[in-house]
């Protein structure tokens, strides 16, 4: 699913790296507010869905080769978070939906869990 289709599905605003949204193809996702959980269980290449908005979200995405981030619950990231995401070329979305709603919508549209072997 293209990143722009994800944005449309969860009524999200594109916060940065707009140039990638029409070409970035996402097939899986991982949702968590705990970055250590993401580091332990998230496979590379999936969308990160989170309600945390600090700069460490982008660092975590960099470490795990996560190509895009969706912020839920209408949370607006801090300026330094957006700046680092821009620098790293990681597009970010902001949606008013709760994590449960966003996950439900994207799961029903075909995104699959982005989990590493450690969890299974």
């Amino acid at each position: 699913m293209l990143f722009e289709e994800i944005a449309k599905a969860v009524c999200a605003k594109v916060l940065c790296v707009e140039e990638k949204v029409s070409t970035l193809d996402i097939t899986k996702a991982y949702a968590s507010d705990l970055m250590s959980d993401v580091l332990a269980f998230c496979a590379p290449g999936g969308l990160l869905i989170t309600g945390l908005t600090n700069i460490q979200i982008v660092r975590t995405a960099q470490m795990l080769d996560i190509p895009g981030v969706l912020f839920v619950r209408g949370k607006a990231p801090q300026e330094e978070t957006i700046n680092l995401a821009r620098e790293a070329g990681i597009p970010m979305l902001q949606s008013k939906y709760t994590m449960f709603e966003a996950c439900g919508i994207l799961y029903s549209m075909g995104l699959i869990p982005s989990t590493s072997d450690a969890e299974r």
Partner: protein, 140 residues
């Protein structure tokens, strides 16, 4: 790779804005050297969790990476409060982290288990009042 490459970064206590920059630098160097992405990711998880430990618990410190033919050794050294019970600290879910770390999405007692899971060698030595050293190796 003819000669080993050595990288060293200082990490500042409680600096959550800069935290992760050293790890990203090490990961980018590994990528530049053509090391496979799965190894880069394992090294990134180790360095990042270890760097966060320096920021959260260690009172700052030093993180080093020694990249040679067939392996990368990642070490952290701090002169912080030390860990009274290392066995307990390695257990998943055990944590002494404060609210600030939790707000950032850390401090859930996953750091050391995550590091151990991704390392082929894992040695941690700590003395209360003196500090902690962590040594990990990934072979490839």
């Amino acid at each position: 790779m003819a000669e080993a490459i050595y990288i060293e970064h200082s990490v500042v206590a409680d600096d959550y804005l800069a935290a992760g920059a050293a790890s990203n630098n090490i990961k980018e160097t590994l990528k530049m050297l053509g090391i496979t992405s799965s190894i880069c990711r394992r090294a990134a998880i180790i360095t990042y969790e270890a760097e966060m430990n320096l920021v959260i618990h260690g009172g700052g410190g030093k993180i080093t990476a020694n990249i040679s033919e067939g392996s990368v050794e990642i070490k952290t050294i701090d002169h912080g409060p030390g860990i009274p019970d290392v066995e307990l600290a390695i257990k998943e879910g055990y944590t002494t982290a404060g609210d600030r770390a939790r707000e950032m999405g850390f401090g859930a007692g996953m750091g050391l288990p995550n590091i151990k899971r991704n390392a082929d060698e894992f040695v941690i030595e700590s003395e209360v009042g003196k500090g902690t050293t962590l040594r990990t190796v990934i072979r490839f």
